[in-house]
């Protein structure tokens, strides 16, 4: 057996936890003692912890390779066990190719963002708190991806939700023009929207346990497959249901969970608001890692989805749950892509873009193209993190410029260092508004280049990472589901268009604001991670080039583990590749990978067309000033794009929900439940019984007995007490008496 490092898996969690403790407990003291060195300690400590976790992931990756990719479960301890109910949840790590892929992405991108944040958060009064939260996020995210059961996944799921809440509201004291605490509100919105999905997750877990008697992945999946092959029904005590319908319910609930965490219709509304958090947070949590956990969940549960697909079960006879996943993903991709047209906030554009790209992944997962979904997840993590961090760099630069002119105008040095997204209310300058930018390509060269790479990768231009992954999804769509394919293609065009618009508005043309004219490049601690991410965004497509899969089966069987076969060959070991036929389960040697030159050609031509359209036609010379309206604003597409989903949500769904809740609370809860049931039946009975118990049972019976025993003991003690005279003589006398009596007894009686 080759050497392996599976035993190191717990360290994945230990390192971030050490970081949390360090920054949470003592980090602040370092900073109070000395601002500059303290920040270095705090930030680098957290970054080193993230890097250490990355190293552990790499070791696990190498171990898997030398272990012929066989999944390994590292059992740490039994977490919950109720033997009488057959309930047992271990705290164990699932080390397989899927989870290691996620670990590598989370810790790798996470480390880069940690390092970037050292520069970005410079000067923030709560510097160490920020890094404590970031490490805490890593901790929970790693629980999420490494757990070997749904309950651990759920712990991580809730934990990252908490960290998301904490980090969106990191500047919780910031208020908008109306004096509302907008960051705190955004955090709350994210939290509440996620609760809806989490509730579905809990139901799904309960149902899973009820049906299969376990929450661990492996037993659940194998049990489900067995039942599928034998055509067994699922029994719930008195009644039973077909496996297909039960799994339809489970997978639909998983989908609802995923729509919450991965910001899909109808729960996506929280993600754009989440951009209130510091930019590294947007990059790490709301682009690269946390929001992809919904995709991870679906890919992880691929067996369940495939069984539903094969069993032909549908929701109310309309659509099967995997198809529903695909449609929701595609619809979200298109809708969010359109909304992104109308945004002026540089980060909001990226936020909607993220929602749109997550839609791509969800759609891919729904079509059964799990590898494509994971592939896009990885490349998206690269270039979207790059774009967010790049936008952070732009914002940072704009603030610098703004400070510069501010200092000029007032003729004195401005104290206080730039603080990321901090607004300067005094002149209503918004460093995130694209209308105030322009021409930054000269002032911020590095940022411009890497941003350009990220944008082109996102738009899907050959040969950058985004092209390969997006194209794989589109190719799957063209094979399996034409509607999804069309929706996604339009979404891809939108992507290219809004990225072209953003590039043009931010980096090209003339500066439309004094601040843009004086913007400055960010420090190296920020640009180096950007460059690394840019490299990854260029090369990321190499992970799963279509040509690599040529003859996977043959190569693989000859050199198991010895040849790099791309993501396809790698993930094959944890994403069960099987086809469900009339005869039962047929395992396939590999998951099908598709590449269609036609599809790729069309999408490339469309993307380039959209970019050209945005660059040279629509935004060719406009807008020239910050006040000029967007050229799209007079066209119907604008009105379609401002599709007031948020308004709809706020005006109809929320009040409707409120009214329903109000009615439930007033009539059902108070009038019936409280007033009648509680007061009349429960309370009166209870009060009557309590009176009986208190006055008769307790006062007369129990108290009488207790008091009687007490006074008896007191009287007895008083009587015995008299023998203790305190005179040594008396004690000696009694000892002597005892001695003589014993002696006499032994001598005369004993024999």
């Amino acid at each position: 057996m080759p050497m392996n490092a599976f035993g190191l898996a717990p360290l994945l969690l230990v390192f971030p936890l050490i970081g949390v403790l360090f920054n949470g407990l003592v980090g602040r003291r370092f900073i109070v003692a000395n601002r500059n060195t303290g920040e270095k300690w705090s930030g680098w400590f957290a970054s080193v912890m993230a890097l250490s976790a990355f190293m552990v992931s790499v070791l696990l990756f190498l171990s898997l390779r030398s272990h012929e990719y066989h999944a390994e479960v590292v059992h740490l301890f039994d977490w919950l066990a109720i033997p009488s109910a057959g309930f047992r949840v271990p705290w164990a790590f699932q080390i397989d190719t899927l989870s290691v892929t996620m670990m590598l992405v989370v810790t790798g991108v996470g480390s880069l963002i940690h390092i970037y944040a050292i520069g970005y958060m410079h000067g923030d009064p709560n510097f160490s708190r920020f890094f404590a939260y970031l490490n805490l996020f890593l901790f929970f995210m790693l629980i999420l991806v490494s757990g070997n059961n749904y309950l651990m996944l759920f712990v991580g799921w809730e934990g990252v939700g908490l960290c998301s809440f904490l980090l969106i509201g990191f500047w919780f004291d910031k208020v908008n023009e109306k004096g509302e605490p907008m960051n705190a509100n955004a955090a709350r919105k994210a939290f509440v929207a996620n609760r809806v999905g989490d509730f579905a997750m809990i139901l799904a877990m309960a149902l899973t346990f009820w049906s299969f008697g376990s929450l661990e992945f492996e037993p659940v999946f194998s049990h489900a497959l067995e039942m599928f092959e034998s055509g067994e029904m699922v029994h719930f005590g008195l009644f039973s249901a077909s496996l297909g319908s039960v799994l339809t319910a489970v997978t639909t609930l998983f989908l609802i969970g995923a729509t919450g965490k991965s910001a899909q219709i109808p729960l996506y509304v929280w993600l754009p608001d989440a951009m209130a958090g510091p930019t590294p947070v947007s990059a790490l949590i709301h682009a690269a890692t946390m929001v992809t956990s919904g995709i991870y969940l679906i890919v992880r549960s691929n067996v369940l989805f495939e069984i539903v697909r094969a069993s032909g079960a549908t929701i109310f006879g309309i659509v099967s749950s995997p198809d529903l996943v695909a449609y929701i993903g595609a619809a979200t991709a298109l809708l969010a892509g359109l909304i992104a047209f109308t945004q002026f906030d540089i980060k909001k554009v990226l936020a909607y873009s993220t929602v749109s790209q997550l839609g791509f992944m969800i759609a891919a997962a729904g079509m059964g193209a799990y590898v494509a979904a994971m592939f896009h997840l990885i490349t998206h993590a690269f270039f979207k993190a790059l774009l967010f961090l790049g936008s952070g760099s732009v914002i940072h630069g704009m603030e610098h410029g703004h400070h510069h002119i501010h200092a000029h105008n007032h003729g004195k040095e401005v104290h206080g260092t730039p603080q990321g997204d901090t607004h300067h209310e005094e002149d209503n300058f918004d460093p995130q508004d694209m209308r105030t930018m322009g021409g930054l390509r000269y002032r911020m060269k590095t940022t411009f280049i890497v941003y350009m790479i990220g944008a082109l990768a996102l738009a899907g231009i050959v040969p950058l990472a985004g092209f390969w992954s997006k194209d794989e999804i589109l190719a799957h769509g063209s094979e399996h589901n034409l509607i999804v394919y069309i929706l996604l293609t339009i979404a891809a065009v939108c992507t290219a268009f809004y990225m072209g618009r953003q590039l043009k508005m931010v980096f090209f043309g003339e500066p439309r604001h004094e601040a843009a004219a004086h913007a400055e490049e960010s420090p190296a601690v920020m640009t180096v991670p950007l460059m690394i991410l840019a490299t990854l965004a260029v090369l990321g497509g190499g992970l799963n080039l279509p040509f690599l899969s040529q003859g996977i089966a043959e190569t693989y069987h000859e050199h198991p583990g010895g040849v790099f076969l791309g993501l396809e060959g790698w993930l094959e070991h944890s994403i069960a590749a099987f086809e469900l036929t009339e005869e039962g389960v047929v395992h396939l040697p590999e998951t099908p990978k598709v590449f269609s030159p036609g599809v790729a050609g069309i999408s490339t031509i469309l993307a380039v067309g959209a970019l050209v359209l945005a660059f040279y036609v629509v935004y060719a010379n406009k807008p020239k000033t910050a006040e000029e309206p967007d050229p799209l604003q007079s066209t119907p597409i604008w009105w379609f794009s401002v599709l007031p989903l948020n308004t709809l949500y706020m005006n109809y769904i929320v009040p409707g929900f409120n009214r329903l809740a109000q009615w439930l609370a007033d009539k059902v809860d108070w009038a019936f439940w409280h007033d009648f049931f509680h007061d009349r039946i429960i309370r009166d009975t209870f009060v009557g019984f309590a009176h009986f118990a208190a006055n008769i049972l307790d006062l007369k019976g129990v108290d009488g007995m207790v008091n009687g025993a007490g006074s008896l003991a007191k009287r007895l003690a008083n009587w015995i007490r008299q023998t203790q005279t305190g005179y040594a003589r008396n004690y000696a006398l009694s000892i002597f008496l005892g001695t003589v009596v014993l002696l006499a007894y032994f001598i005369f009686m004993a024999n």
Binding site: R721, Q722, T723, Q724, T725, G726, Y727, A728, R729, A732, L733, F736
Partner: protein, 102 residues
């Protein structure tokens, strides 16, 4: 002429022990009380040595050695207690000391 046997020594030991016990029970002077205790220990020692002689075993003498050592320690502590009590109560009358009265 009767032979002196072990019985004679035991009898003497018992008599001395009884006199010591009476001293403990009847005297009120704490110091004399202590002397009586020493007397009782000595009576026991006498019996030990006599038995050692009778049985031809050295262990009896070893035991006496230990008793004498413990007695020395006991006298030292006991006397200092008497001194301390005398300091506070200005008396060594054993009947005036009954703080342990229940």
């Amino acid at each position: 002429m009767p032979e002196v046997t072990i019985d004679w020594y035991v009898a003497l030991s018992v008599i001395l022990f009884s006199i010591g016990a009476l001293g403990v029970l009847l005297r009120r002077n704490a110091i004399i009380l202590f002397m009586s205790i020493e007397m009782m220990l000595n009576a026991a020692n006498l019996a030990f040595v006599a038995f050692a002689r009778h049985l031809g075993d050295l262990d009896g003498q070893v035991l006496v050695f230990f008793v004498i050592t413990v007695a020395a320690a006991e006298v030292a502590v006991g006397l200092v207690l008497i001194v301390t009590i005398f300091r506070t109560k200005k008396s060594i009358n054993i009947d005036e000391i009954h703080l342990m009265k229940g």
